[in-house]
């Protein structure tokens, strides 16, 4: 396999280089290069996937990258069912979003630049998935962060966009601060950073040590996958073009944290404290993000908080040790969340970039494809069978139940109810009811086929992707496929032991009931009588205000971190640097020149001065000896 695996990152990289050096000529045809490059990666990924299906794996180093003393970092790839599945999802969704962008970005003056950045992202993301050691993973972890920075700030003339890009980069650097230290600690403890070697030695290390390592790695995952307390960058990231939100900030990059934990499951399994932290962090993130999503007016903001919330579910899954469930939800979420964002993009395309849902309504009559596919995605995320989200979410909640984490299960169900509610709130406000925009000034229209075609493909997968999880626990295809990864020596199946048939049916019933309740509530408030929403907002005005303002977390960070650090820096500069150090330096200079001034009087050149001094000297010396 090593003969062709490298093509997966190579294709998009070539795309980057062509559009970088020949962008002037490719211009409006830049998408051909970009789309073909990603299509190439997708095809090679399929080849890899079929080989993996036959039981092949690969751990191959292409060249020595950084070798200093005993520290060895190579450039190599690791192919196993986990990375093969990720590759398919990443390259497949990427290709569809590339195609969609042809229509969406059509009139943008930065057209070739956009495809250049997108290709750069695909290159970085597939390399991240392929990496066979911690440092290489970190390298592309930062590289996808860079692409995210560039694409969020793609419309850089807008201050809010460049602010959001910078915020994303810096918050991610805070996470990477931990990730980097984690890698260093792994090297100090194990003497290697190669995945297979480290995992092989993992059981020899002390629990305290493994807990420290995993918590540091987790900090990186928190940043990249937007978990509490580092989630603040993701809502702002919606400043980027919508295909970017779909690709990077929903389907692929933000799931890298989940992937990393699943990849390092051997270490996390041996650190129960960290696992507990992950479960709670994920659950609270899922819950609080969902509460914020309830009241947002901007369609992309709702989807952003929804993404944070769904990522929280994935963390709950991997935290419980149900890695297959976490990765399963990652995959299904990639399809339906990409679909939701692209659908929202299609609406914005039709509505002259309007994102306020209160200025939409009734669009289903005009945008048939968009509204139908959007509805499918809503059903998928809400967890209605047989749509994809039902199966994967059910696995995570089932894992919580069988691990006897009933508090987590209850919160999960509550969050699922809110999820169904806010998603159908979006659906009803946007596509149903009567139009709340000026029908005469807006010429709303269905998007061109390059945009609706990817919607339809994603809609198909939003239905069928969940079916790989059908079967009693442990018996379904996805479990069969991923089991070889997660049952390596040292990892145990903690929470994935099956529960009885009747219990399973009961759990499914509860989940479906919660989803239906959420949908019904949304129907009641936002479709049947839309005035009701205002009344409710007025009734709970305090809570509504807190939620609309996202719990004031940004304001809190500003007051506690940003402003003080800036003030300290100014004080150091104006106070310490200019006054203390330069004051001392200039003081020494001043002192020397004063001494010089004084000494000058003794060299006046006048004989009478010298005579006077001579006489004084003689008297002093004589006086000294005489008075002794």
């Amino acid at each position: 396999m090593e003969k062709f695996v490298w093509l997966i990152p190579a294709f998009p990289l070539i795309g980057v280089l062509i559009n970088l050096f020949f962008g002037r000529w490719t211009g409006k045809k830049a998408h051909w290069i970009a789309c073909l490059a990603v299509l190439g990666s997708f095809i090679v990924s399929l080849m890899v996937f079929s080989r993996v299906m036959q039981g092949e794996t690969l751990n191959y180093d292409y060249f020595n990258w950084i070798w200093v003393g005993s520290f060895h970092a190579n450039a190599g790839v690791l192919i196993d069912p986990l990375s093969a599945l990720m590759l398919i999802v990443v390259t497949g969704v990427s290709f569809l979003i590339h195609v969609y962008s042809i229509g969406y970005m059509h009139d943008d003056p930065g057209y070739p630049r956009f495809f250049l950045y997108l290709n750069l992202f695909v290159f970085s993301m597939v390399s991240l998935v392929l990496a066979n050691n911690f440092l290489l993973l970190y390298v592309f972890w930062e590289a996808v962060g860079l692409c995210s920075y560039l694409l969020i700030g793609f419309w850089f003339q807008k201050k809010s966009a460049s602010d959001a890009g910078k915020k994303a980069f810096i918050v991610n650097r805070i996470g990477d601060f931990g990730f980097g230290l984690g890698i260093m600690m792994i090297f100090v403890v194990f003497g290697s950073i190669q995945f297979t070697e480290v995992f092989g030695m993992a059981s020899g290390a002390s629990v305290a040590c493994l807990t420290a390592i995993t918590l540091l790695l987790l900090l990186g995952a928190m940043g990249k996958s937007a978990q509490i307390p580092l989630y603040v960058w993701l809502p702002d990231a919606m400043e980027g073009p919508t295909p970017v939100s779909a690709l990077i900030h929903a389907a692929t990059m933000v799931t890298a944290g989940v992937y990393m934990i699943a990849r390092c499951h051997v270490l996390f399994n041996l650190a129960p404290l960290t696992q507990n932290v992950i479960i709670w962090m994920g659950m609270l993130t899922a819950f609080f993000a969902a509460t914020i999503a309830l009241v947002q007016k901007d369609i992309k903001r709702v989807l952003a908080y929804s993404t944070i919330s769904q990522l929280g579910y994935m963390f709950v899954g991997v935290g419980l040790g149900a890695y297959t469930a976490g990765i399963f939800h990652l995959a299904t979420h990639a399809f339906f969340k990409a679909l939701l964002f692209l659908g929202a993009g299609s609406v914005m395309h039709a509505m002259a970039n309007e994102t306020d849902m209160w200025k939409m309504g009734g669009l289903s009559k005009i945008m048939k494809y968009t509204s139908w596919t959007f509805l499918i995605a809503c059903l998928a995320i809400a967890g209605i069978p047989p749509f994809a989200g039902f199966f994967s979410k059910e696995e995570i909640l089932g894992a919580a139940w069988s691990a006897h984490r009933y508090e987590i299960y209850a919160l999960g169900i509550l969050t699922a109810l809110m999820t169904a509610f806010y998603m159908f709130r979006v659906y009803f406000l946007t596509f149903k009811g009567t139009p709340r925009y000026n029908v005469h000034s807006h010429h709303a229209h269905e998007s061109p086929w390059v945009m609706t075609f990817p919607l339809m493909v994603l809609a198909v997968f939003s239905v069928i992707a969940g079916w790989v999880g059908i079967g009693t626990h442990g018996g379904s295809w996805i479990h069969q496929f991923l089991n070889p990864v997660f049952t390596l020596p040292g990892s145990e199946h903690m929470a994935e032991a099956g529960h009885s048939g009747s219990e399973q049916l009961l759990l499914m019933g509860i989940a479906i009931a919660a989803a239906l309740a959420g949908i019904g509530l949304a129907w009641q408030i936002y479709l049947k009588d839309i005035k009701q929403s205002d009344r409710m907002a007025a009734q709970f005005s305090g809570l509504h205000k807190v939620l609309t303002n996202k719990y004031y977390v940004d304001e809190f960070y500003d007051a506690v971190f940003v402003t003080p650090i800036k003030n300290i820096s100014i004080a150091l500069w104006r106070g310490f640097d200019a006054v203390v150090i330069d004051g001392t330096v200039n003081g020494i200079g001043w002192f020397v020149s004063i001494i010089g001034q004084l000494l000058r009087y003794f060299q006046s050149g006048y004989v009478r001065t010298y005579t006077t001094m001579f006489v004084i000297g003689v008297i002093a010396v004589l006086g000294f000896y005489l008075t002794r």
Partner: protein, 516 residues
């Protein structure tokens, strides 16, 4: 003395070719300005090409001095003309010839007064810098060390900006104050050598074999250390640097950041650590503390600078804090990282000053607030500035990452606390660089003057492209660099271990045994 390039005295040629060129310039009438530009560039280009021969002849696996030249100079004093090059100086010399050439090329349109004197100064400066790196005789070293100051003083004082005299005087006084300590140190070493062996010698290689009592090591370390710490500059000796950078012309800043600052870290690595290993081990925590303060302090102060050059100057304080930290944790990762980071900083910060200079030439201002939206007006400039910025904040696949990661890894292996504090620097670096980048590059074009700025011209491309290629090269495939540095670094480490009973390789801090 024969070497792998036959009998060609390559080190002498490298050192004195620029000075010879400068002397030849003296005979040319001063009104032939384009002659001086092209002539200086030709000399520096030739010197750069000759320095590439070093790569061909250099034996990567050897830790010894190569291409050695030795002649009697002042036999009565025990001073000789002794040049040599090893894995530590190989890339520093290459960096010097490259940066000098680029600095000359970047001045073509910026310098229009006293052109003759300008290029003569630059060429003499190149001779001084290469001489410092290659000298193995302490008297010769000191000669070059001081000689280098004069052209730099003129560069700032004559071709600088508004407060150039203040900055030039500050620069020279600071450095001279340090040099005075070093001179005392050199003389003490010289006489102590006589005391031990009965022979007068300024030769570094024979000094390296001396066993000094701890107390003497301690004081001598401090004497050398002050001189080098000022040059680096290490916190709190850094306040000359922002002034010098802001007032110097672009080429001056480029050479200052690119090469001159490395004289300090080079001195620490070449003299302080191997000559006084026991003192090094004793004083190591204090040096590392200053370095760590520099990393955080330099970054924080850089964050609030309104002037781009000042911002980059303070970022240099932080970057060189990393270098010193890496050198003083005395393990291969840290020291190789430190040495590599010297080269990296020369490339990245040199490029940053070049790019700030390009904007200055167009707009005659360096204030961040005078810009905004430049990405729209100058797209090629934007692309280069982006790469250079990312290189400076240590983004993987670019050069800065390889150096910084190894330094922090080395620091972390030595002491967890050092590693953690140093790691904060990478967050701060992202903050100050990206904030500056945003304010200069992004947003709407608010000033009328900025709307008509011309994008890079051919000469500017030529100036930047070699630097960017090297940034990617070191970032993606650093092996050719690291493998040549490592043997010489290992030699210094083993000298430290041999010079004392204290084992400096044990990772302190938390000791985590593999088996509970």
């Amino acid at each position: 003395m024969p070497n792998s390039l036959g009998n060609f005295p390559i080190l002498s040629v490298l050192t004195f070719l620029p000075a010879l060129g400068a002397l030849a310039f003296l005979a040319v009438p001063r009104n032939r300005e384009s002659f001086f530009r092209q002539g200086a560039f030709a000399v520096s280009l030739l010197n750069f090409l000759i320095s590439l021969l070093l790569l061909k002849g250099f034996i990567p696996s050897s830790a010894e001095m190569q291409f050695v030249e030795w002649r009697q100079w002042i036999p009565g004093l025990g001073a000789s003309y002794h040049l040599g090059l090893d894995g530590i100086t190989l890339f520093l010399v290459l960096l010097t010839t490259l940066i000098s050439m680029i600095a000359i090329l970047s001045s073509f349109s910026a310098i229009n007064k006293k052109v003759k004197e300008y290029y003569i100064s630059l060429l003499f400066l190149e001779t001084g810098m290469i001489g410092v790196f290659l000298s193995l005789d302490m008297l010769l070293f000191y000669f070059f060390w001081e000689a280098m100051l004069i052209p730099m003083y003129f560069l700032i004082g004559i071709w600088g900006h508004e407060r150039r005299i203040y900055a030039a005087v500050k620069f020279i006084l600071y450095t001279m104050a340090g040099s005075a300590f070093m001179l005392v140190g050199i003389l003490v070493m010289y006489f102590y050598h006589y005391h031990l062996t009965g022979a007068f010698s300024f030769d570094l290689l024979s000094w390296n074999t001396m066993e000094l009592p701890f107390k003497l090591q301690f004081w001598l370390f401090l004497a050398f250390f002050v001189a080098f710490a000022i040059k680096v500059p290490l916190f709190p000796f850094h306040t000359w640097l922002p002034d010098a950078h802001v007032e110097a012309p672009t080429a001056g800043s480029v050479i200052l950041a690119g090469v001159l600052l490395k004289m300090g870290t080079y001195g620490l690595l070449r003299f302080c650590i191997p000559l006084f290993p026991v003192a090094t081990l004793q004083l190591l925590p204090y040096v590392c503390t200053l370095a760590l303060i520099g990393i955080i302090y330099g970054g924080l102060v850089a964050m609030v600078q309104p002037d781009m050059k000042k911002l980059v100057a303070y970022s240099s304080v932080a970057h060189l804090g990393y270098v010193v930290l890496g050198l003083f944790v005395l393990n291969p990762q840290g020291m190789v990282g430190g040495l590599l980071q010297m080269v990296n900083h020369g490339l990245s910060t040199g490029a940053l000053f070049l790019m700030v200079g390009m904007l200055y030439e167009r707009r005659h201002t360096r204030l961040i607030e005078d810009f905004g939206g430049i990405a729209k007006v100058m797209p090629a400039y934007f692309a280069f500035f982006l790469i250079v910025t990312l290189s400076s904040i240590g983004l993987p696949m670019l050069n800065g990452f390889v150096g910084e990661f190894n330094i922090i890894l080395g620091a972390f292996s030595y002491s967890v606390l050092y590693g953690v504090i140093a790691n904060f620097g990478i967050i701060i670096a992202a903050v100050y660089m990206l904030w500056m980048f945003q304010r200069v590059m992004f947003g709407e074009v608010t000033r009328e003057e900025n709307k008509i700025l011309k994008d890079l011209n051919l000469r500017e491309y030529l100036v930047l492209i070699p630097l960017v290629i090297l940034m990617f090269w070191i970032g993606i495939y650093p092996k050719p660099f690291i493998s040549r540095m490592e043997p010489s670094i290992n030699k210094i480490i083993s000298r430290c271990q041999a010079g004392t009973t204290v084992d400096c390789q044990i990772p302190s801090g938390i000791s985590m045994e593999l088996n509970k």
